[in-house]
Amino acid sequence: MMVGPERSSVVTGCSAVLAHTPGLVRHGSKPSRELPRDPGIERAVLDNLRTFEAAVAYVPHQTFIGGLHPRDMPQRPWTEGMAGAQRFAGAGEIMPEDEFMGLLAACDEFELVQLEEEMAADTLARLASHPLAKRLPLDRLESMREQAGAPRDGGLTLHVDRDRLAGRIFAGHESDESLSAAVLLENLACKATGVLALARLLHDCDVDPNSIDYVLSCAEEAVGDRYQRGGGNMGKTIAAAAGLGNASGADVKNFCAAPIPALVIAAALVRSGVFNRVAVVAGGSLPKLGMKFQGHLRKGLPVLEDVIGGMALLVQADDGYSPRVVLDSVGRHPVKAGASNPQIMTALAVEPIERLGLHMTDVDDYATELHNPDITEPQGSGNVPDRNYRTIAALAVANGHIERDEMTSFVSERGMPGFAPTQGHLASALCYVPHALQRLTEGDATRVQLIAKGSLFLGRMSQLSDGMSVMLERNDG
């Protein structure tokens, strides 16, 4: 087999899905701590959860699933909704919570989830008519229903319609904190959103599931037991549930930054000839549900963190059409680089471009942390993407790529508003990949730089941050 520059890696597709789960907001990390303290807060949260229709019409959600490009988003307020918004769009869908409850149960291989009888019947019927039904592990749901024993008490209650009981999830072990019901719910939600995204990817790319060799998960959840808390392997777990019989897998962990190293590793595995087709999959983060609810309620907004995301992309050998992963363009954040924002951005955004002898205006779109400002601003985190783009523009000035009076146009033409839910790994450039693929094929872009950053210091093992960047490039055949 020829190995070398002739065998470049391309991204042939990328899916993006959201599960609308207002009933699970109470199990987000912040609400699970705050709600039990005060029935008034619990009532306020429940009263300010969005309907499915409002979640579908919410502009950032439509952008996330590929319904419109971020630069085409109307002016805020986005909560007023978009006329004609649909559940399904170019890259994915927004799944309602009763269907997701069924998918959650279908992805459970250890009888941990028990749905209420009526809920189980309804959700099975609805999922059976889902366009991806054949690709989802629904047979499990059916047999589970047939074999259902007497309802069990205890466990963690699961809700839909704000506070209607839908079922329960039980601990995997009576005394292992890593297998508590709350932890397993997080992991199962990650698995289910990952499975839905992977199913959509395979459908859109029209590839045989058995042709995928390897699945890399870049999600944030830690799967394991008390002896190996972050044991993994969500990649293979999701591959199996989505019917990828020939695939194996592994996890790439790096806080929010993980998707870009995962993409680079996938592209390197294909480029080197180790594998022909590698999927990168990212299930969502249930703990982030309702994370900033206090700010939203203070500002009279609904609880905006009511969705769990999921994404998947496919990397394979050059097909002469799909955008190339430019492995020479990888930017990394070395230990010695320093952790201030300008130092990180210099290492990730500026250095790789200069190393390739390019100009910063040779990159059409910069995708960085694209957190939705509707969510972050009310709780005091500011407008993250706006800050990132102004930093990149200021560095472009400092490094002589543009003039100072060009900063504003640089930001508006090459940057974009944030639209991702605050599930850091999805926001970290990955959410732009469906748009990047469109811009680099049917659109008029030549290069897109994907930039991801992760806060290692949150884990109390290092004071460092990390990050990685890589460029996608139009394929001229």
Binding site: Q294, R298, G338, S340, N341, P342, Q343, E377, G380, S381, G382, N383, R387, R390, T391, A394, L395, V397, A398
Partner: protein, 103 residues
């Protein structure tokens, strides 16, 4: 301001005295800088944290204010802050913090 930071500031002020503690902010916009300054001067406006109704009256500055910049060696400033002074709304942030500092 998050609850952990509030608890830490409260502990330091109690341990060393309010006159021996200076709070240095790095908040990225005027609103969050103002809320943080308010929290350490007149108490947590959200009444959610340990500084709720705690009028510590601590001297508080934002790292982009001239008072701070003037006491930091230029090379350290350039390395750690550098272009962020142009990126963030330094003047508005400074005003938001000063409003509470001068109460």
């Amino acid at each position: 301001m998050d609850l952990q930071s509030q608890a830490e500031i409260k502990r330091l002020a109690e341990e060393h005295g309010s006159d021996r503690v200076v709070v240095l902010l790095g908040a990225p916009d005027p609103e969050s800088a103002g809320i943080a300054a308010e929290t350490v001067v007149v108490g947590d406006p959200t009444y959610a944290g340990p500084l709720a109704e705690a009028q510590l009256g601590l001297p508080v500055f934002h790292v982009l204010e001239d008072e701070v910049r003037s006491v930091i060696p230029l090379d350290v400033w350039d390395e750690q802050i550098g272009v962020m002074a142009d990126v963030l709304e330094a003047v508005a942030i400074g005003q938001a913090v000063r409003e509470f500092r001068e109460r």
